[in-house]
């Protein structure tokens, strides 16, 4: 049945598809000179100040604020702002976006990493194409980014949360941690330091469990419920993520455990105001994410324009925040964490 006609027609069709592919590949290679060197090396005039923020995920109040700070900075120095992120905080989600941005040839990226090593290959491809990459909030391993903008030292962040919970539960009892995603660099760094701090300085506090809310509100809500049910003697919950602490507070507000179980962690004043005012939460900590994004944008600009190279000791101007110096490991430190409680929560709007 497979006479020469069928074989011939099959061959023609296969040839057509093959030709299409080769044709697109060939035409793609032709404009070699102008297009593919990409990125920030437009020799003709201004440096390419198109900076894109790639937070961990979309729909997160913390990143909305930090990226708005970045936008403010970018508008100040006349660049182009964009924000791209996956809907869920996964590393491979970020990789696709970084790849697309590499193809588009932006000038710089500000990334908050979902994993320390998984996105390295994509970032290095971007850097090979001349794009400057700065990490903020959550770092990657130091060899695959140009600079890291750290909001506060990890030790400081861990210590302040442990101190707050110890204060609120009388320095003894069971506590649990409600974290974000299991791979996030900053989360794991803080959790490790918290565990060490508790073991050394608070022998009567027992850390019973660490659960992951994946920076998703519903999951964090349900995980809080599960924690409270599984550990009836739980005295405190630490949630070093703004999504987690807001969801946990909302659950506590309508449950029997309100007032009996302490909750602290990292939260934004706007999200937590209600809960502080009705005493579900006593105190929590954070820094100003808008300043973090602002600084990250200025640092990226300094890299793109060649003002700094990320070596230790480089200094650059960051608009209204003043001048900053690069520390060891190509890190720039923003400042110290700040405690919010009933007295000062009315003073902030972010």
């Amino acid at each position: 049945m497979f006479n020469s006609i069928t074989r011939r027609s099959g061959a023609i069709v296969a040839l057509a598809v093959g030709l299409t592919l080769v044709a697109s590949g060939c035409t793609a290679q032709a404009p070699e000179g102008s297009g593919s060197t990409g990125g920030g090396s437009d020799a003709s005039g201004d440096a390419n100040l198109a900076i894109t923020f790639v937070p961990k995920n979309l729909g997160n109040a913390y990143f909305d604020t930090s990226d708005a700070g970045g936008k403010e900075a970018i508008d100040e120095f006349g660049g182009t702002y964009d924000e791209q992120a996956p809907a869920e905080g996964t590393p491979d989600g970020q990789v696709s976006f970084i790849n697309t941005l590499t193809q588009q040839g932006v000038g710089g990226l500000a990334v908050s990493a979902n994993d320390p090593t998984a996105i390295c290959d994509a970032i290095n491809e971007a850097r090979d194409a001349g794009i400057k990459v700065v990490t903020f909030d959550s770092d990657t391993s130091p060899d695959c980014r140009d600079l890291y903008i750290n909001q506060a030292t990890s030790e400081g962040i861990a210590k302040i949360q442990v101190d707050l919970i110890a204060e609120q539960i009388g320095d003894k009892g069971q506590v649990a941690i409600l974290s974000a995603t299991a791979n996030a660099t900053n989360q794991n760094a803080w959790i490790e330091l918290m565990e060490a701090d508790i073991k050394e300085n608070h022998p009567d506090i027992e850390l019973v469990d660490t659960v992951y809310g994946d920076d998703d509100d519903q999951t964090s809500f349900d995980k809080t419920a599960a924690l409270l049910q599984t550990y009836p003697d739980l005295k405190g919950i630490i949630s070093p993520t703004t999504v987690g602490i807001a969801a946990a507070a909302r659950y506590l507000q309508t449950s029997d455990y309100k007032g009996k179980v302490a909750l602290t962690g990292l939260g934004t004043p706007n999200q937590m105001r209600d809960y502080v005012e009705d005493e579900t939460v006593t105190a929590f900590a954070l820094w100003n994410p808008a300043d973090l994004g602002y600084l990250a944008a200025y640092a990226t600009k300094a890299l793109i324009e060649g003002e700094i190279t990320g070596a230790e000791g480089d200094t650059f101007e960051a608009g209204k925040l003043g001048s900053y110096t690069v520390d060891a490991d190509a890190t720039v430190l923003l400042g110290d964490p700040y405690t919010f409680n009933a007295e000062n929560i009315g003073d902030f709007d972010f």
Partner: protein, 353 residues
């Protein structure tokens, strides 16, 4: 014209054509040709209008991105042609990804871990096949169950952690290019598999059996085709190719996670149906399917580069899927209306007496 000896009426020698329609109509007025035409159209328009679509790096990322879908579309086509369906492919991908990750993390050399992952994929496909052919359950229900089961095993083994340390040689190989072009080397593996599947489907008795089962599996059984054995083999093939795609996905992204490739089965089925395979079974061809996958991939890539967000891309994929299936139905209805009794009237001249 000779005269018949009995009646004296002239007898003619009737000739029968090999096909009902001329070659050009068979080739160009077919579902597969429409998809290939659509693909060419999208590529040309995107080249012209989307900034930086024509760069070599675009083709590279495009192929790297849709490679798992290309791999899995091959056995999926065969399964859908027999009238079954396999929704558990993405979960098998995730499971093999996790097996690769945990074994390698536990110290096993990556090559051995990869082979074990392939074996696990085959077993997963065999379980599907067993439940469908031996127990006699509908494949939709079985694969919804195994979709949950395999994904659950994958997530259960690893939690929400991810394994990200892999031998550089293999992760580089997954992303390497052929010589100086921008075509990734994994395309070679795909082309070999595509040729193998095309030969299997279109040029062997096994493949003819697949079409026969799709058209009417009772009749196929009575014709001597071993229906159960064919379906079992197809599900096992689907399992092992999904495991292979899972290994590729892991090496390409450098991450083994329990929820890798969640939702990929929808992309595969969308592409296969777009490529002209009938959901009722019995009809389809591999070149249409490959063109369908490339079409969806190129469309997605062009839209992403034009900074159109991925949700719009998803809407377009969903609408394309619905249109592709509804259009077949619509065209059949149209065809029936035109040729039904009472439709076009043709006058048959009476035979000359």
């Amino acid at each position: 014209m000779t005269e018949s000896a009995i009646t004296g009426a002239p007898t003619t020698v009737r000739t029968y054509k090999n096909y009902g329609r001329p070659l050009w109509r068979r080739l160009l007025i077919s579902r597969e040709a429409a998809v290939i035409g659509g693909l060419i159209l999208v590529v040309i328009v995107a080249n012209a209008t989307v900034y930086r679509f024509g760069t070599p790096i675009t083709l590279n990322y495009l192929l790297l991105d849709i490679m798992p879908i290309l791999f899995i579309a091959l056995p999926m086509t065969l399964i859908i042609v027999t009238g079954e369906i396999d929704l558990s492919v993405a979960s098998t991908m995730g499971l093999s990804s996790v097996i690769l990750g945990t074994l390698h993390e536990g110290g096993m050399p990556i090559e051995l871990a990869g082979i074990i992952a392939l074996i696990v994929g085959t077993l997963a496909g065999a379980l599907n096949g067993f439940l469908v052919t031996v127990v006699g359950l509908p494949s939709l229900a079985v694969t919804i169950g195994t979709l949950a089961l395999y994904r659950g095993l994958a997530v259960g083994l690893l939690g929400t952690k991810a394994v990200t340390e892999f031998t550089e040689f293999w992760t580089d190989l997954a992303k390497s290019k052929i010589g100086d072009t921008s075509i990734p080397s994994v395309t070679i593996l795909f082309v070999i598999l595509a040729i193998a599947f095309a030969i299997l489907l279109h040029f062997t008795p096994f493949g003819r059996g697949i079409f026969a089962i799709g058209l009417n599996d009772e009749a196929a059984r009575f014709s001597g085709i071993r229906v159960e054995r064919t379906k079992f083999i197809l599900f096992m093939l689907s399992g092992v190719i999904s495991a292979l795609a899972g290994i590729y996905y892991t090496l390409r992204f450098g991450t083994a996670r329990g929820d890798n490739a969640t939702g990929l089965e929808l992309s595969v089925i969308a592409a296969v149906l777009l490529g002209g395979v009938s959901i009722f079974g019995g009809r389809g061809a591999l070149h249409g399917v490959i063109a369908g996958v490339l079409l969806i991939g190129a469309l997605g890539s062009a839209l992403r580069l034009a900074s159109i967000t991925s949700d719009v891309i998803n809407i377009i994929t969903g609408v394309l899927l619905v249109l592709s299936v509804v259009s077949t139905s619509f065209l059949t209805w149209l065809h029936k209306k035109r040729t039904k009794p009472g439709g076009k009237k043709t006058v048959i001249p009476a035979a000359k007496g």
